[in-house]
């Protein structure tokens, strides 16, 4: 496998343009890797934050020993976790419901039930022509996007008749993202609570040696010690 790879690398014949393209490609990959790593760190930070909330939920009942076994812990955690999720998701769901209500009223007024509101919302964005083959480049037999597609397929245009879509789509999308965020918190807390239920009530013997005797806990009996001494003598 390694021999085949080495022979392939040796057999490569690169001109200056290929070397430059390869260098740029490596730099872009490194930057992408760095950005992806940062995004992953952000995701992890959000998940850890929700995990801490799971401990907050169950701290008092656990410390006060109101709950004394993993099964009750999981039951209680499930109830409290869902209640928190319910409370937190009320606002996102309310926002989504508001958006849907606006869409229903608008569609009922203009009789536009078959209109694609998301497509109408895209009027506000640039649309690139990705199908143009001139935007791509071949490196080592692979096709890569070399530049931003041009010309634009469409420019931002504001249509008054699409006004409802411009309002409804951000509301619904924003509410959905907020609801997904809360769902993510619900999931993470549930997983952490299951993990904690096994950890909190575990009886660990790690580091314990039954043959270890604390000399301070052994009472001194002069009679016994003197008898032992006399026996030794």
């Amino acid at each position: 496998m390694i021999d085949a790879l080495l022979s392939f690398l040796i057999s490569l014949e690169m001109n200056d343009n290929d070397r430059r393209a390869l260098l740029i490609l490596v730099i872009i990959l490194l930057i992408l890797l760095f950005i992806i790593g940062l995004i992953g760190m952000g995701i992890r930070w959000i998940i850890m934050r929700q995990a801490d909330k799971a401990d907050d939920l169950m701290y008092e009942v656990t410390v006060a020993h109101v709950i004394n076994n993993p099964r009750d812990y999981r039951k209680m955690a499930s109830k409290k976790n869902f209640r928190l999720f319910f409370q937190k998701s009320l606002i996102p769901l309310g926002v989504i419901a508001l958006g849907v209500l606006i869409w229903v009223i608008y569609s009922a007024i203009v009789d536009g039930w078959n209109r694609n509101i998301f497509e109408e919302f895209l009027d506000l964005f640039f649309l690139w022509h990705y199908e143009d083959p001139e935007n791509y480049v071949q490196i080592f037999g692979m096709t890569f996007l070399a530049k931003w597609p041009a010309p634009f397929e469409d420019h931002p245009v504001f249509h008054v008749e699409h006004l409802a879509s411009y309002i409804v789509v951000p509301i619904v999308v924003g509410g959905s993202l907020a609801y997904l965020y809360q769902a993510q918190g619900y999931m993470v807390r549930a997983l952490v609570c299951v993990k904690r239920s096994n950890e909190v009530f575990r009886k660990s013997l790690k580091g314990y040696n039954a043959n270890t005797l604390d000399p301070n806990s052994v009472p001194y009996d002069p009679n016994l010690h003197s008898a032992n001494d006399s026996n030794k003598l």
Partner: protein, 216 residues
Amino acid sequence: MKFLKNFGLGLLYALLFPVILAAVAVFAVYGFLRGFVYFFIYLVRFFKGEKIFAAFPEDEKAKEIIDRARGLKKEEAPAQQQAPQQNIYVQQNYYPNQGLPPQGQQPQQPGLPNPGYPQQGLPNQGYPQQGIPNQGYPSQPSYGQPLPPYGQPQYYGGQPFQRDQLPPGYGEPTPVIPQQPGQAAPQPEAITLNREVPPVEPAIENKEMEGDEDDD
């Protein structure tokens, strides 16, 4: 080093992001369905007039336990520092010349136990006397002068005297002021500093007599 570790974990989470997203979507649907059911449960609870998000019984119990534990800690700390509680009764003295003490006699200071001076004025009317009982010291101490140490009686002005040279009036009974007709008997004023004095129950004979009256 820590950043590199977090960065590596971040890459892992980014790679697992599609899986995480799928799991989140499943939980979102499950939460929505469960929330739909609970919405009606909470609605019924609301129209019953109950609290929608009432505290769980386990939470209330835990809070009670924790509060009790914290309360005990708070009570124990000052209990070790405080002096033992005591009630101080102030015996208000009355004098024959309309409340003014005669020359040379001073009223007893409230709050200060009398270490052995004879009680002036009315006798003790059943309230517990604080301090040391009368040990036979001169009956008229100088007002404003420090009290003589215990066991070393002095004349006025601080002159020590011999045991056989008793001061005038020493050993004589304390004069009792006769109560004039139409004048209300002076009542001693009691000040309770730390706790209330339990009410004095009437004598058993009185109770029995009251009971007999009720029966009649």
